[in-house]
Symmetry: C2
Subunit: 341 residues, 2 copies
Amino acid sequence: MPSSAIKIRNKPAATASISAVAERAGVSIATVSRVLNGTKAVNADTRERVESAVAELGYRANALARSLMRGETRLLLVLVPDFANPYFAEIVKGVESVTRANGYGLVIADASQTLSRDSAALDSLYNRLADGVISLARFADLKPLLQEIPDLPWVACSEFVEDSDVPSVSIDHRQAAIDAVQYLLNRGHKRIALLSASEDYRWARQRHEGYEYALQRAGIAVEPQLVRVARGTDYIHGMEAAGTLLAMEHPPTAVFAVADTLAIGAIKAFRRVGRRVPEDVAVLGFDDIPVAQVFEPALTTIAQPVRELGAAAAELLLKRLAGGAAESRTLDHALIVRQSA
Amino acid sequence: MPSSAIKIRNKPAATASISAVAERAGVSIATVSRVLNGTKAVNADTRERVESAVAELGYRANALARSLMRGETRLLLVLVPDFANPYFAEIVKGVESVTRANGYGLVIADASQTLSRDSAALDSLYNRLADGVISLARFADLKPLLQEIPDLPWVACSEFVEDSDVPSVSIDHRQAAIDAVQYLLNRGHKRIALLSASEDYRWARQRHEGYEYALQRAGIAVEPQLVRVARGTDYIHGMEAAGTLLAMEHPPTAVFAVADTLAIGAIKAFRRVGRRVPEDVAVLGFDDIPVAQVFEPALTTIAQPVRELGAAAAELLLKRLAGGAAESRTLDHALIVRQSA
DNA sequence: TTGTAAGCGTTATCAT
DNA sequence: ATGATAACGCTTACAA
């Protein structure tokens, strides 16, 4: 016995292939394939022989070879712009609940800017590895991405692709923003600021539009100084962007943030300069992320049916893969009134 | 299962194959392969012909076939127990930063309980699809998982596998807990409660051990009533578990929570019954998640080098794939003092 | 330098 | 019911 007592590699032969199983069971590889897939009738005793050979060898079919033959991988590619965002995480869970039930696996890939820029990367990594794509990627990244994986069924979730036949699942971001601002108007606010995010996200632009529409509908002029665009969607970006808001000559009495993280950042910034929320400034968020209800003041916000969004996107894609025509869907949002506004 | 109505297995030249390129360029497929991979010298003009044929046809090599031949996929499987947890998300980012630089792609899979239970699922979905595995899965799920993908190099991150040669990357959870509790002791606290999580997570157990050790070392007896185990790691679970803590006859003056989410939940629960943090009860968390510094009071907590954890795990695995011996690593943690304790 | 051909591990189409 | 055998799209000796 060598002293290197470690190396517990019980698998001496690398991997058993189908031919090894066939040999051991004394049948042809075709028969093995049949019992594995239950594709055709096989005698009870031969089936048993094959099955025990499989067990003894610890055989597992090579997914690569199988997919190559079948022309399908039963894998779906999910493009996520930011793992750290719980919003996307929830959507993925929704996606997974339906794909798993249908025997599909998920390949989740980071569709961050770096990847989107270097178009070849995505292709060389995942080309032909998935049967379809569900994308949560930024609007701005979507088109280049789409070119990279052209001949695959796509479904966009939360975002959408203009001038294309890519179906999408989303809430009506514009209408949701209108509802949010209208709520603030109803509470008597006249000077309402917008804390927006990069409009590389289509939803940011749409919420922005809703904000302006609601204001104009109420006969209130949109003041450019009241619109701040955060450099990202983290708490810190909300703090930054909201920082100077209250230093204005005529500060806003309410703020509509296009994301809860930005809203919380803003609240934090306001507190630092001694303002209270909602007494001095009302703050309304978007997304209803988990902290929203635990933060103090608890966030008044727009909730998206995140899980359902993901599930619907998956259903759409599966339907499309099955040859059916998939139509875009719009799901309902809801205004959740808590304490911050 | 599909309702066998229609089997549209039409592959009407959906994608150009290597032979199409060869034909168009007037060369053999071998030559095409060579210019694609730069594996051997090719005449300048033939190379050009091939390249333009590739461009015209929009040809992209089929990753499946290529991997089947090469015996490697250049894909790494990352097992994540919970997408919604930003802690794991950050680790994945760390992993990605190094894998991307080395030309490896990531297949991120949900290693939730459901998947771990049904062992066949993991195998049938991802078998042979990855060259190696980085697992963030729960300790309790790890072993069954490991059996499913036996002949693949594994690296555990944050968790580890006892009695195996699976290398791991982690901080010293036990020592971190000792540091945390010692800090509270130094501040004069004698009655310190533990808010723990399911010990399906090995780190939960280790932090628990550290808690007990630090107390005993200080000559303080461990009181079972002061130890509460939350049913999960969400905010709500922290609220639940901490709820009755202050209703005790001799309530604790400080709480050490094994996760920031639990800590925040606890603070929320304490506030509900009119207690102030840190004046009435000090609360110390773990992980330093993004909200920790924005929440009020800002969380005193133990920070893990999350990004580095992921990067180190990836480096370990890559090294192992390259044939080298990979050794487990322990990274440093840090106590971050803010306001809650 | 280039082409021929033998696999890689499956599934699918024939016969038998 | 079972067995040859031809794909699937690629890489890589081995020839030419």
